[in-house]
């Protein structure tokens, strides 16, 4: 692996992040999504999850933040991402992020696998980042 690629990989490490009632409430205000499954324990108790769940977009947000910190505020312009939600993250739990660069037919893709405590997969995020393609093309 070239030095530039190694540096990119290292900078994109995201530390684990917990999402409690505070974070869920703030995102609820921001998005105006007041679905009680995210905040109402009594309501959530009657669902298959039995516990309030974190907004899917919320636990993915640290990825965009990491990309912006690494590549700059324009990094995502002309970029594409796909998110596959696998299972919910319960409020109060911690999301863990693992990232790697994978080669696909479309080029180099940043792949983030998000897991909950115990390693249960909760989402896979693939980002086809124009900045990454440019960085790799220059080595």
């Amino acid at each position: 692996m070239a030095n530039g690629e190694a540096r990119t990989f290292e900078l994109l490490q995201i530390s684990s992040q917990s999402f409690g009632a505070r974070e869920v409430a703030i995102y609820g205000q921001l998005s105006q999504d007041h679905n009680p499954i995210h905040s109402d324990h009594d309501f959530a108790a009657k669902t298959p999850f039995r516990h309030p769940i974190v907004y899917g977009f919320l636990f993915v947000m640290p990825i965009w933040e990491a990309i912006e910190r690494t590549f700059g505020v324009e990094a995502l312009s002309s970029s594409k991402a796909s998110i596959r939600f696998q299972r919910p993250l319960l409020v109060g739990h911690t999301a863990h992020y693992a990232s790697q660069v994978e080669e696909t037919g479309d080029g180099s893709v940043l792949v983030f696998r998000i897991t909950a405590e115990g390693g249960a997969p909760i989402a896979v995020v693939q980002v086809l980042l124009s900045s990454l393609a440019q960085a790799r093309g220059s080595h």
Binding site: E23, I26, Y27, Q29, L30, S31, Q32, D33, N35, I37, G56, F57, M61, P62, W64, E65, I67, E68, R69, V73, E74, L76, S77, S78, S79, K80, A81, S82, I83, R84, F85
Partner: protein, 128 residues
């Protein structure tokens, strides 16, 4: 509340203009205090939050039990930090397969001047 049957592929469901001001910046910064944003342009995640606000505003009450199965995102440019954003929701495709009601909804975010910032494609399992 909109049922699955009311969605028509190719139809624009609605559009809404959303101002982004100090409250939104403050909420975002309190969620992610480690990232410095100078507010000349919006954090990508904040734009996604506004996209979802538009989706919720346009659709209103939604069936309980909807499942957001997957999401595609395409960024075109950083959203400016000093002007309202326009969110437009369009039904792209629907499919009833084995009793499961699937919807593909395109949710786009553009500036008031019509410059596209972000386009999202949600694949939803619609509960009603």
């Amino acid at each position: 509340m909109r049922s699955f049957d009311t969605f028509q592929p190719g139809q624009v469901v609605g559009s809404v203009t959303i101002p982004v001001g100090a409250a939104e910046h403050s909420q975002w910064d309190s969620l992610f205090p480690d990232t410095v944003h100078y507010h000349r342009s919006l954090a990508p995640g904040l734009v996604i939050s506004i996209m979802m606000r538009g989706y919720i505003h346009i659709l209103g009450e939604r069936p309980q039990g909807n499942v957001h199965a997957s999401q595609e995102l395409e960024w075109f440019m950083a959203a400016p930090g000093d002007e309202p954003l326009v969110v437009t929701l369009k039904c792209v495709k629907k499919e009833n397969k084995d009793g499961r009601r699937w919807l593909w909804l395109e949710n786009s975010v553009s500036t008031g001047g019509g410059k596209m910032c972000l386009k999202g494609m949600m694949r939803m399992l619609w509960a009603a």
